[in-house]
Symmetry: C2
Subunit: 334 residues, 2 copies
Amino acid sequence: MAKPTSDGEFCIIERYFAPLARNTAGAFNLKDDAGLISPPDGHEAVLTTDMIVGGVHYLEGAAPRDIGYKALAVNISDLCAKGAKPSVYLLSVALPEKLDPAWLEGLSEGLSEAQSDFGCTLLGGDTVRTPGPAALSITAIGFVPAGRMVHRSGARPGDRVYVTGTIGDAALGLALLRDPKSASSGHLSPDHKEHLLNRHRRPRPPVTAIEVVRNHANAAMDISDGLAGDFAKLCAASNVGGRLDSTAVPLSDAARQWLGAEPARLADIITGGDDYELLATVPQNAQENFEGECCCSAIPLKAIGEIIDPGGGFSVLGEDGKALELELLSYAHF
Amino acid sequence: MAKPTSDGEFCIIERYFAPLARNTAGAFNLKDDAGLISPPDGHEAVLTTDMIVGGVHYLEGAAPRDIGYKALAVNISDLCAKGAKPSVYLLSVALPEKLDPAWLEGLSEGLSEAQSDFGCTLLGGDTVRTPGPAALSITAIGFVPAGRMVHRSGARPGDRVYVTGTIGDAALGLALLRDPKSASSGHLSPDHKEHLLNRHRRPRPPVTAIEVVRNHANAAMDISDGLAGDFAKLCAASNVGGRLDSTAVPLSDAARQWLGAEPARLADIITGGDDYELLATVPQNAQENFEGECCCSAIPLKAIGEIIDPGGGFSVLGEDGKALELELLSYAHF
């Protein structure tokens, strides 16, 4: 009789990932080669994929719980912006040769927390070795009523442009991590610091806004690379112009404090990214319902600009209503 | 007016990946945050994900065309084994900081060739930077008539076990790449060498077998980690025993030549993996149709073993009908 295979991959899946798939009908306990989904009657499936890499998307030494949470959150964020209700996800993990069980345990716990917060479960995955830093690639799947996905390209002149939540916290949190002394020049309290760091570590895409956005927005996208650049991308995809009023951008107490002390931080706030809030453009006849329903659902919402004719181009306006000169509109990988 | 963002990622997507999505209805030219799929009436979607990492799944210096081809092929292989017709795929690419346009061009060409061979197109993706080696994570989606996905867990005592194609070529090709001098101890001709290397570089999962497998197999999986280990995994998932007759394993001329010169190569052949052929178990009453339909579709097929009662365990039999002692049944990442 042949010896059993020395299958560490099997043990990793069994121990750290199978529990995340326990309640997924089509995951077959991760014991098959593939998972199965079936959109509810009259629905389509929306699919999105995002990869996060150690040293690029999170700093070396970040807590594995936060890494797991964030890896799923950044994908769910795209589903929210498309008006799709999260259902399941696939996870590919590249792990360094030296495995740390505590790291895997933390990763699994963070994924589990994110599953609960966003209402989805694991469908399948792959576990491989890498000589480089750890990397997680997630494909998330949500469902929308057929024909109702919200596109980037639907913005029309006259639309009002909204964002959910507050902007810039995660970028300021990253600035704090990179240079802890910057807290003093920003005159930040311990609570302020904690808020900014937490927003960097734990993006919380507004899943409660999915239906409202689907019902009223002409166009939407999530804010991942930076508000200004993402707004500009939405305008380009819709072939329209846009104006972003930088004085209207919603800020947390912590961000407002820091910006007051260092006005140059505005660039971090509106171009730094990692917000994972929604940017949505809403036509005039839907604005009242959109605002009202967001209010009823306790979704923080702020109008920050407008969609204009294509000839108007895209600009970011400052205090005096004049266009700001920004070096870059958003974070660029390359 | 603000300057446009320095968005190299946009240019990479536009140039190398958008052409792969040109014919995908739900990809929106890769200009949205997500893709959209809708299974045909009465069908479900089968999803699988596999990641390949430089230095682990392909050797440094491998041709980017082959890397792109293989990244898609290894995913399509899983869909074939589940009886699902390939439709679309999502691609996440982690790229080193120093981008080589020729490498990206080759990658895109290899993906394009694979798309044509396997009948699928690009739905969406993500492009990120990595300080490590390049990595590609693909999620492939295929469709099956509802309730007809072929599982790993369906094997029953009495089933005959078949494989498609020939086994061991890719593992021997890798052995050649790692030690080019080994060709002489194997007495291999230049044609033999070329055959083995090509099988390592370009796995060709048998998409023509999808329907036949779906119609007749009790269980199936693709052979990726090694025939012996994968057969054992299928038995474990089905809670049955199995016997693999190593003398019945179908070999190419090149593999037969090498095995004749070096009988110890049998371990490479049946445990080396990277075959991306199908392993299928078929009940007695379906064997005649299964064999006949494979023959009509020119699918090379060979019976290599049988499923037995769980108490019989799993074994690999040698020339004399006695169980072989193998160090490992398949390739293990960890």
